[in-house]
Symmetry: C2
Subunit: 343 residues, 2 copies
């Protein structure tokens, strides 16, 4: 029974008060910046430090209006897209001493409910919901009280909700405008399943950019499929089938497809970017670097989204709730796969 965790009691404010020979209230003031003599304050702080005193956040939370904790619910698990978001969000909040409860719902509404119950019990100040794809999802809840919720890389099917998602349309426009600016005239679009809102938005941006560049959009130049490299290779086989107009540039719905496209072209003896320029989407380091040549790609600035989400949640907690969908700008990262003239 010796040396068991829990045997050694925590240092309380009472311990500090006793050691410093002052009252509890005085210690509280010394530590939290109340009216107190400078010398006493220093002395008390010294004692607290020496005793390694850590105020009990739960006891504090019982008094204050805020508990300095928030909940982070991810509908799926963490993945390629959520990681950077979560990382930036955590950095933003933990710098302010706000703890982040991690809740993974694995696409199970029951688990999500259980998590929310837990979070409400913990009296979190706010909740961030994030998803594996930015499409609409049922809103969490019902939340009985005025706890702010914000959706990041996810949208709730509720007009009162607030969400932060990438501007897929703008990202696609930038990519295709770039290809057109390089002198490409026959720009195809190989992308993922139409069931994704992102696919539909990127397709729209593609069309807009073509129009802006005065290029015509060919029906058989848009190829929806799945998100895989295999589909990218397959799409090349289709695009370069005999008797068809061959593209001189391909804007891909994600980097995996782009990599498949790149491999497919190389295996047909076509050169990237000389014969065909490629731009991907996601700017996924593993893919863009492993592609030959390195892949131009649209970056969704997920870290910025996570940071912004943190800021928005903070202001919502402070009372100015917001609603609607904010689309955050994407950035085109140009690499060799779409650079016609090498500098």
């Amino acid at each position: 029974m010796i040396d068991q965790p829990g045997d050694l009691p925590h240092v309380t404010i009472r311990d500090v008060a006793q050691a410093a020979g002052v009252s509890i209230g005085t210690v509280s003031k010394a530590l939290n910046g109340g009216a107190i003599g400078a010398e006493t304050r220093e002395r008390i702080r010294g004692v607290a430090e020496a005793l390694n005193y850590r105020p009990n956040a739960m006891a504090q939370g019982l008094h204050r209006t805020r508990t300095m904790t928030i909940g982070l619910i991810t509908s799926d698990s963490f993945g390629r897209f959520t990681n950077p978001i979560v990382e930036a969000l955590e950095a933003r909040l933990s710098a302010l001493g706000i703890g982040v409860f991690m809740c993974i719902a694995t696409d199970d509404p029951e688990r999500e409910k259980a998590h929310i119950r837990q979070l409400l019990g913990k009296r979190v100040d706010g909740i961030v919901v994030t998803g594996r794809r930015a499409d609409k999802r049922p809103p969490i809840g019902p939340l009985p009280r005025g706890i702010p919720v914000i959706y990041v890389f996810a949208q709730a099917d509720d007009p009162g909700a607030f969400s932060l998602v990438p501007d897929d349309e703008g990202g696609a426009r930038a990519a295709v405008a770039h290809l057109a600016a390089q002198g490409r005239r026959e720009i195809a679009h190989v992308t993922g399943p139409m069931s994704f809102e992102a696919v539909r938005l990127r397709l729209r941006g593609y069309g807009q950019a073509l129009e802006a560049a005065g290029l015509k959009q060919r029906d058989d130049f848009t190829l929806p499929g799945d998100w895989s490299e295999a589909w990218g290779r397959e799409a090349i086989a289709r695009l370069f089938a005999p008797g068809r107009v061959a593209p001189d540039a391909i804007f891909c719905g994600n980097d995996q497809i782009a990599r498949g496209v790149s491999d497919g072209l190389r295996e047909r003896g076509l050169s990237v970017p000389r014969d065909v320029s490629i731009v991907g989407f996601d700017n996924w380091d593993v893919m863009v670097q492993a592609s030959r040549p390195p892949l131009s790609s649209v970056d969704m600035n997920l870290k910025a989204m996570g940071h912004e989400a943190g800021s928005r949640l903070l202001s919502a907690i402070q009372g100015d709730a917001q609603s609607g969908v904010i689309r955050m700008p994407c950035t085109l990262i140009v690499r060799e796969s779409s650079q016609t003239q090498v500098s």
Copy 2:
């Protein structure tokens, strides 16, 4: 000032007691399973449910010895390896109503310290430390009290610490034994930087399996490099340089290298697995599936590690602390890249 979050007060146990016309103590018993009449209990539960009562976890934590929260510190950010671990850990613990505080230290000792201060303030029942690679790291701390800490996919430079890491050596042995069992005699090993303990352990397992199979280990068949596909391709150029004994199988230190190796072989006109068998390491879905043919690979069973970490932490919290390094078994997943006879 209307409709601001926080305006609506939480339902307290007092509210429930009043609504049910009983005392606070009775409500507590009804909800927590004290001695009470079955009928009263049902009635009180009904009221609590109707009022959407959620016990304040902080007020509870003030009484109980345990707060039902733990801290999860990741030295880096979350990534490919930590994600499954964290996911399983969270699932294990949240099922028991234990909240997980997420702390990302981004390799910054100062941030790590700040996180630990915060966690101690929150009175977490335990801490899990995880890393981007399983190598030794400085122990966290100092932790003033008996809070159990366990390292997962990380090791502390402290004999008293407890860590859970994959059995790299065993995984490598399984991979190479499999290749030998397929009749391969000239098995090369293309791997990552020797600075990684995992690289050294996998190399050792490779050697052991060769010896067990009665194969000789050639000096020039072990190629350390970096973890990239580019290195995998480069290694093929070296292994198949004129005038050298060519391998008929290659065990790779990770899946990215394996994929590079696979591409390199194909581009030389060699067939996988007919001419050369390949086994990778990590069983990273993106890589193993995108390789042509699909890649055999060693799975580190990271979810099992996360689950086990949860269980170990729970028992440590209950008092039976452990120390030492536990290496958890890896599993070889065989796919086409190493299957000589197709069934």
